[in-house]
């Protein structure tokens, strides 16, 4: 029985990999099973094979499953290891390189920012890291999403305690004001981030309008590709590639990798995080 289930789950994961190109094989099997079972109950199916069948016919359910599998809840410092890498390795390296070129700016784009946790996280990191340098660095941080409503929420910068499960206490105290059970981000960070509406599939406007020109040093596009099939992913990648400066870095979600046609144009920077450098 158990082995039956495992086979079925593997089959579902294979399907996801084939259709969407996402590889969940690295995820903890128990967790995957738990989450798939959640969907099983949510759809009223009691048999895993019936659910597997449903996945074949219903693309919406596939989206739901992806949502569930990727935990579509943004948190500050989600994948804290990735952010450690960004703050300790990536940003210092970019700053050094750019200062050498006589360009004291840091251009960052959070593509698909949702309610802004990632953008604010990167804002806090950038502020922290550049604050330690001798030379002042101009931060240009842009965050975009296709959903106008969620952008409104992002601009407010008010979050509930659940968003902070991976955040260090010191950071919360330094950059947030507690108001009842809500945490409001300080204006110094909020004003750092330019939130705007943008469709990642728009070929005419590969990057946020406010940023005028591409040349981003760091682009975060995490858990976005996961929702799209390979064709659409390619379109998104066209834009992401255009947006990056030469030597620019791209951060993807844990289950995501560059689409095949772009593989040769990116170099993985780390064995454990999804950070890629444009070559």
């Amino acid at each position: 029985m158990l082995s039956d289930n495992t086979t079925l789950i593997n089959q579902i994961l294979d399907d996801i990999k084939q259709i969407h190109g996402f590889d969940f094989s690295g995820y903890h099997p128990a967790m995957l099973e738990r989450r798939i079972t959640n969907r099983l109950f949510a759809t009223g199916n009691l048999q895993l094979h019936a659910y597997a069948e449903l996945l074949h016919h219903d693309p919406k359910e596939m989206d739901h499953l992806l949502d569930t599998l990727t935990i579509n809840v943004s948190r500050f410092f989600r994948d804290s290891f990735t952010f450690e890498c960004i703050s300790n390795l990536v940003i210092p390296e970019i700053c050094q390189r750019k200062l050498k070129k006589g360009d004291p700016t840091l251009r960052i784009w959070s593509a698909g920012c949702a309610s802004g946790e990632e953008a604010y996280t990167i804002g806090i990191i950038a502020k922290e890291v550049t604050g330690k340098l001798d030379v002042p660095i101009d931060l240009h941080i842009f965050a975009t999403d296709i959903d106008q409503n969620i952008l409104k929420k992002a601009r407010q910068g008010v979050f509930s305690a659940e968003s902070f499960s991976e955040t260090k206490m010191g950071i919360i105290e330094k950059y947030f004001t507690k108001n009842n059970d809500r945490f409001e981000i300080h204006a110094e960070i909020r004003e750092l981030i330019q939130f705007s509406n943008q469709d990642l599939l728009d070929e005419k406007q590969a990057i946020p309008q406010e940023s005028v020109f591409a040349d981003f040093d760091l682009v975060l596009c995490r858990n976005v590709l996961i929702y799209f099939n390979k064709e659409v992913q390619l379109k998104i990648f066209n834009n992401l590639y255009r947006s990056l400066s030469s030597d620019g870095l791209l951060v993807l979600g844990e289950a995501e990798i560059p689409v095949s046609s772009y593989k040769s144009r990116f170099r993985s920077e780390s064995t454990c995080c999804k950070i890629y450098r444009k070559i």
Partner: protein, 1087 residues
């Protein structure tokens, strides 16, 4: 709650209630208390009687017992034993008998209560001795008194019983007689006479009134004495009434209950233990309560009297209070029913009286108001019907006279021209006395009315009034006068005087005042109507006049029409002719353009290839062959110049020279021309000197044409001067700038000075050989200078030199500089070349016009880093203000801004001289529509960048392009070039030019070109196709818009050199246009 319809009833009712309540309450309380005490007294009395009687009964029984005990204890009675066994006679003889007999009789005498005393023999029961000798010897053996006394050996009381022997009711006491040995020797019996002793005791009814009685019953309730209300009761009647039963049962008390007759009685009862009797003492309740009734009667009388007194007094008070009110009510009802004469007649002195008086006043006022209203409505009714002013005035006067009982009424109307009031209409007045009077300050009674504009009421008229009333008895002067001004727009325009022989009714003034607003309004209306009527009549007349005039005009216009038709016909002919001329002109220029195209194409090959040969084959060929090549090239160039000159000339002559006027720095131009000619001059060891005054103003002119003119003249000077130098002197006044170019050259003979500006003339036919040239240069110069509204003069002396003087206006005399110049967007191309040099020493200023601060900060950063000086305007207005102060070298302009948007900024700056030619880069996030694009194009836009669709390098490149600066390719890899060329010969030529480009790809047609572009994503696409013009343009458009060409610069090479054609090519969106023949150096620089 009770409801009363009348106040009087209500007051009476409440008086009664308040007055009687305490009386009724007091009487009730006293009554109840009295009844209670009566009851208490009768109880007490009856109980006392009962106790008294019972004590007496007990005493009586006790006495009897005592009697018997005493008697039986007499020693002499012991002798009775001696009588035993003796016969009656013997006994009577016996002394003992006699003694005992005597004792018994003595007792009998002593106590009247007894009937008989006798002693019985205890054995036989026979009477031994008796007080009544007749009963001696009677046997009483069976009697209770014998048996009971014998058996109990004690006193025995036999209850009341009926004695047959005595034949009446009796009661017996018996006691045994003992000898000293305590043996019973006899029984002594005493028979009681009840009528003598007991019954009188019971029948004593003192204190029991008429109905009271006492009675005793035995234990079974049998009555034992005579009753008041029952005959022969004793031993016959069993009484079952409660008191008797209770008494017989041994109880004591008092009770109200029914008796043996079933009558309500108050009964006290008790128990007499000795005899076992129940004792009852009772009296009828009716008698007991007898004192209550008179008391009740008394109280009722008191109540009745109080009621009558209170009722009567309340009626009187209520009546006095309600009578005036009722009167007022009646009056009010009558008034409301329409009887306005109703009034309160009885007026009391109190507050109600005051109220009644006030009520009467009110009724007076109301009735007066009604009268006034009626009168006013009568007046209104009369005037409303009036159709014209005469009718109006008359109706008004009649109505006034009627309502005010007046005898005389006059209507004066203001005659504005004469400035006086004139009689207009009157009733009852003698008209000749009614003279006009001055309007500004009339005398007498009218004066006040006119000046105060108020109604005037005069009560005692003087005798010399102008009003007089004629009667059959002669003229009478009226007594009272009311003068009414009719005021419209604060001006008295009419007066009405009403006079009466008698005093006016009291409400007259009020009627007049009340009626005034309507009179004024209707009068104003009437006047307006009157004026309208007059105007309408005037209008009618004028209409009629106009009609006749228009008829006249109609006939004139018909004539004109005929003339104009003739003119139109002539016009049409003229138009046809002019079209023919135009067509001829077009054909000519087309021919010229075609010809130049046809000439240039082969020439291109010749020139390009000869240049390549000169460069590459120099070593391979010998000197002479090299010389040949140079001759080929030189002649080719000359031929090209000739073609260009001819084209230019023909264009100027055809009046199709298109000027692009802008402020031009003359000194800069001359400096650059000087520098460009310096090498040539240096060859001949000539020196070119430029003398320019400080503060030389910029002049408004076409820069390129001016360069052409000056280059030509200065070039000529260099050409025709072999030694010495060339001086360029600049001078100016307020209107003009003068440029003197003097050389120390060969000079021009006087006779040829006049023809020097003609075509194909060169001084000294022979010199043509010595000095190259087409002979068209000065002709073009002359034509261009006059096209630039300037003047050119020449003075010369053969052998000494020549002075050319060019005079140009500082301010362009034309109106709008751009209206006739839609195609000037190619102008900046050459403009750029001049700027090239400046950009190295002075940082160009770029004005960023943008509302988004984030964009500003980014742009500022990259521009500053590139060495530009940056100015910021955060909106359209700011930008315009900035440009009033200083002129930037370039503008980066956002389109969508709050307030003044980018389009408006463009419109404004392009229509201002100073800013008209500032290069502009549009940086926008707007999705541009066709209209937007054409609007931008007409405003001479150098670059267009979509926000978010470019990278930094691209943006900087675009900015450089905008400023006309050479693209800085230092340190970058060579761009990939795609060449699309369908002519094999040209392909060779172009390839040879692009030999250094390491990344060159070639395609022979558009299709393969686009395929190649997809593969190699070139940075630059060069297009040179031999296609008919329209088709070529369309093809270019296709390439520019194709996906494959995105991100690449498109350069088009064409032999269509005419300005209009160039514009058509540029409109396709291509980045650059090169006209054949290609200047190899320029071409490479551009690439």
């Amino acid at each position: 709650m009770m409801k009363f319809n009348r106040l009087k009833s209500r007051i009476t009712f409440w008086f009664l209630v308040i007055g009687l309540f305490p009386v009724v309450l007091a009487v009730s309380v006293i009554y109840v208390q009295r009844i209670h005490s009566i009851h208490e007294r009768s109880y007490e009395k009856l109980t006392t009687i009962r106790d008294l009687k019972m004590e007496r009964l007990n005493n009586w029984i006790f006495e009897r017992e005592g009697d018997l005990k005493t008697a039986s204890a007499d020693k002499e009675l012991e002798d009775i034993v001696y009588l035993k066994g003796l016969s009656l006679l013997e006994k009577r003889q016996h002394p003992a008998y006699q003694i005992i007999h005597r004792i018994l009789n003595r007792y009998l005498d002593q106590y009247k209560a007894y009937d008989e005393l006798f002693i019985l023999d205890p054995v036989t029961g026979a009477v031994v001795v008796s007080s009544n000798q007749q009963s001696d010897g009677d046997i009483k053996k069976m009697e209770e008194y014998f048996t009971m006394a014998l058996s109990t050996r004690n006193l025995y009381i036999q209850d009341i019983y009926y004695s047959k022997t005595l034949n009446h009711l009796t009661m017996a006491f018996s006691i045994p007689i003992f000898n000293p040995e305590k043996e019973i020797i006899g029984i002594m019996v005493a028979r009681v006479n009840l009528d003598e002793s007991l019954y009188p005791l019971l029948l004593d009814r003192v204190g029991l009134g008429e109905t009271g009685e006492t009675l005793i019953v035995d234990e079974k309730g049998l009555a034992l004495n005579e009753l008041r209300w029952y005959e022969n009761a004793p031993l016959n009647l069993y009484i079952t009434a409660a008191p008797a039963m209770k008494a017989a049962a041994g109880e004591t008390g008092i009770i109200e209950t029914g008796d043996y007759r079933n009558k309500q009685v108050l009964a006290a009862y008790g128990y007499i233990s000795k005899t076992g009797w129940g004792f009852v003492c009772k009296q009828d309740i009716s008698e007991v309560n007898a004192p209550i009734n008179p008391m009740l009667t008394n109280f009722l009388i008191i109540l009745l009297v109080s009621f009558i007194v209170v009722f009567l007094s309340s009626r009187i008070v209520a009546r006095s209070l309600t009578q005036p009110i009722a009167q007022m009510k009646d009056v009010a009802v009558r008034i409301s029913e329409g009887d306005l004469s109703a009034r309160n007649e009885k007026i009391t002195a109190d507050e109600l009286g005051v109220m009644a008086t006030a009520f009467n006043y009110m009724a007076d006022a109301i009735s007066k108001r009604f009268k006034v209203k009626d009168a006013v409505s009568e007046i209104s009714g009369a005037i409303v019907k009036a159709m014209d002013i005469n009718n109006y005035a008359h109706s008004l006067l009649v109505a006034f006279a009627d309502q005010l009982n007046a005898n005389l009424a006059v209507f004066y109307v203001l005659n504005e021209q004469a400035g006086q009031f004139e009689h207009f209409c009157s009733i009852g007045a003698i008209e000749k006395m009614l003279t006009p009077f001055r309007a500004d300050n009339p005398e007498g009674e009218m004066g006040l009315a006119v000046s105060t504009k108020q109604i005037q009421y005069i009560q005692s008229l003087p005798y010399d009034t102008m009003f007089s009333f004629r009667t059959s008895a002669g003229n009478i002067n009226p007594k009272e006068l009311i003068t009414i001004p009719l005021v419209i727009d604060d001006t008295v325009i009419a007066l009405i005087s009403i006079a009466s022989l008698h005093p006016f009714p009291p409400e007259s003034i009020e009627i007049v005042k009340e009626a005034m607003p309507e009179i004024n309004a209707t009068y104003a209306n009437m006047m307006a109507n009157e004026r309208t009527r007059v105007l309408a009549e005037d209008l009618k007349e004028m209409n009629w006049k106009l009609k006749s005039q228009s008829e006249e005009l109609q006939s004139q216009s018909e004539e004109l029409h005929m003339t104009s038709e003739e003119l139109q016909e002539q016009n049409m002919q003229l138009e046809i002719q002019s079209k023919e001329v135009e067509e001829a002109n077009r054909l000519k220029s087309e021919f010229l353009a075609n010809m130049s195209h046809e000439l240039r194409t082969p020439l291109n090959s010749i020139l390009t290839l000869s240049r390549v040969l000169i460069r590459q084959a120099k070593e391979k060929l010998d000197d002479e062959e090299n010389n040949y090549l140079e001759i080929v090239e030189r002649n080719g160039k000359q031929l090209l110049n000739l073609i260009n000159d001819i084209l230019d000339l023909s264009k100027i002559e055809a009046g199709r020279l298109v000027l692009s006027i802008a402020p031009v720095n003359l000194k800069n131009i001359l400096t650059s021309i000087k520098e460009s000619l310096n090498p040539l001059a240096a060859e001949k060891d000539l020196k070119i000197t430029l003398n320019a005054p400080r503060n030389l103003p910029k002049i408004q002119t076409d820069e390129n044409r001016l360069i052409q003119v000056l280059s030509n003249i200065i070039g000529n000077s260099v050409k025709f001067t072999n030694q010495g130098g060339i001086d360029i002197d600049l001078s100016y006044n307020s209107r003009e700038v003068q440029i003197d170019i003097s050389d120390t050259g060969v000079g021009i003979p006087d006779e040829e000075l006049s023809t020097i500006f003609d075509e194909f003339t060169q001084v000294d036919g022979s010199s043509t050989r010595q000095f190259s040239g087409t002979g068209l240069g000065l002709a073009i110069v002359d034509k261009l200078v006059s096209a630039l509204e300037g003047e050119i003069r020449v003075t010369s002396k053969v052998g000494e030199g020549t002075v050319f003087t060019v005079i140009l206006p500082i301010h362009w005399p034309g109106g709008n500089l751009f209206e006739n110049d839609p195609n000037n967007s190619s102008a900046p191309k050459k403009f750029k070349k001049l700027r090239k040099k400046r950009s190295h020493d002075i940082a160009p200023t770029i004005l960023i016009v943008e509302d988004n601060t984030v964009v500003i900060s980014q742009m500022k950063q990259i521009l500053s880093r590139e060495g530009f000086s940056v100015a910021i305007a955060e909106g359209g207005e700011q930008a315009i203000n900035y440009m009033r102060e200083q002129v930037p070298d370039g503008i980066i302009l956002d389109l969508m801004m709050p307030g003044m948007d980018g389009f408006e900024v463009l419109d404004q700056m392009r229509s201002t001289e100073e800013t008209a030619n500032i290069p502009v880069l549009i940086l926008t996030a707007k999705d541009l529509t066709k209209e937007d694009l054409s609007r931008l194009r007409s405003n001479n836009i150098q670059q267009l960048v979509q926000k978010g669709d470019i990278d930094m390098k691209g943006l900087l490149k675009k900015i450089s392009f905008m400023l006309g600066e050479p693209v800085d390719n230092n340190g970058e890899e060579r761009p990939g070039i795609l060449l699309i060329e369908d002519n094999p010969e040209d392909l060779i030529a172009l390839k040879s030019l692009l030999i250094d480009a390491n990344n060159l790809r070639v395609a022979k047609d558009v299709k393969s070109g686009l395929e190649e572009a997809r593969k190699s994503t070139p940075d630059l696409i060069l297009v040179d196709l031999s296609l008919p013009k329209e088709e070529y343009i369309k093809t270019i458009e296709r390439i520019v818009l194709s996906d494959e060409a995105q991100g690449a610069k498109v350069i088009v090479i064409t032999a269509w050199a005419m300005k209009e054609d160039q514009q058509a090519f540029l409109d396709t969106g291509c980045d650059y246009l090169i006209t054949k023949p290609i200047d190899p150096d320029e071409f490479i620089a551009l690439i």
